[in-house]
């Protein structure tokens, strides 16, 4: 990822650290710089919030319905495996 040589993060750097931040993978120093940036930047705060919402929405994606035909097929297979 980005190497953080400059003292203060700019937005373009901060957004690339969001996943490392949420995963708890930043060093203490980088985490503090990230959090300092967020405190002063409403846009990046909104961005982080949107990423969180994206994750929550992804968790709401439900599996497709299994068709009755596919279910029947697998049940038949199960009976065959059991009898083998």
């Amino acid at each position: 990822m980005l190497s953080l040589r400059r003292k203060d993060l700019v937005c373009q750097q901060a957004v690339e650290l969001v996943t490392d931040y949420l995963e708890g993978a930043l060093s203490r120093r980088d985490r503090l710089r990230f959090e300092t940036h967020l405190r002063n930047c409403p846009n990046c705060t909104t961005y982080l919030e949107q990423i969180r919402m994206t994750i929550q929405l992804a968790g709401m994606i439900e599996p497709d319905q299994l068709s009755p035909q596919a279910r029947a097929e697998l049940t038949d297979l199960y009976r065959r495996w059991r009898s083998e």
Partner: protein
């Protein structure tokens, strides 16, 4: 790495609504050869498995075969399931192994690029946001509105490059931990994080476009 932060930010993840913990009961019945238990497990996991298999194998028929083959493996190997991982993780590990070893496997390991995930055009020359971001609170706080975003999110997920899709599916849709996802995919934490980052960044972007269009 886990638990180094005192905050609740650590490995933030959503718990899929449909994944309530009744596995243990069914597994016991399956072990006794109960067909109903098998049907319940199939009803719950077959489609998520198929979706995951298709992220590894683009040919639908081959993906279906691999899923079926995985069920055979589960029925035959259930007595070897030791409960050291969750049933879901065990299931996806068998599936990933079978998908990897299928001779139709099409994708090869591609080195992960480390370019910025967010479009550089969103920033001014000093690296600040060129335009302010709008909060989504209204759209996503309302359950009905949130549900209306799901079709767009779903198709965006389908359009992700395969390796990003695999990681996002396991982490954010299926709710596996990073260790579990790395185990299933046979990749390191660092790579997993880069793929997750790129995938989530893209999904956010699609949602943003969708919300702005209204």
């Amino acid at each position: 790495v886990r638990g180094r932060y005192p905050s609740d930010e650590v490995a933030f993840r959503a718990t899929p609504r449909w994944a309530s913990g009744v596995d243990a009961e069914w597994l016991g019945s399956l072990l006794e050869g109960d067909e109903d238990a098998f049907v319940m497990l199939v009803a719950r996991y077959n489609q998520p498995m198929l979706r995951f298999a298709q992220s590894m194998i683009s040919n639908r028929a081959v993906a279906e075969e691999v899923v079926q083959d995985t069920w055979i493996g589960v029925v035959r190997g259930i007595d070897r399931f030791e409960g050291r991982s969750s049933f879901q993780t065990w299931l996806f590990s068998i599936l990933a192994n079978r998908a990897r070893s299928t001779r139709w496997r099409e994708h090869t390991e591609i080195p992960i690029d480390t370019l910025d995930a967010v479009d550089p055009l969103r920033f001014d020359p000093d690296g600040r946001w060129a335009d302010p971001l709008d909060a989504w609170t209204e759209e996503t706080n309302d359950r009905v509105d949130a549900a209306s975003l799901l079709p767009a999110l779903r198709s965006a997920l389908e359009d992700l490059p395969p390796r990003q899709r695999q990681v996002v599916l396991l982490r954010d849709v299926e709710g596996l931990s990073h260790d579990e996802a790395c185990g299933v995919l046979g990749i390191g934490v660092g790579n997993q994080r880069v793929l997750l980052h790129r995938g989530r960044t893209r999904l956010r972007e699609i949602l943003e476009q969708h919300i702005e269009r209204g």
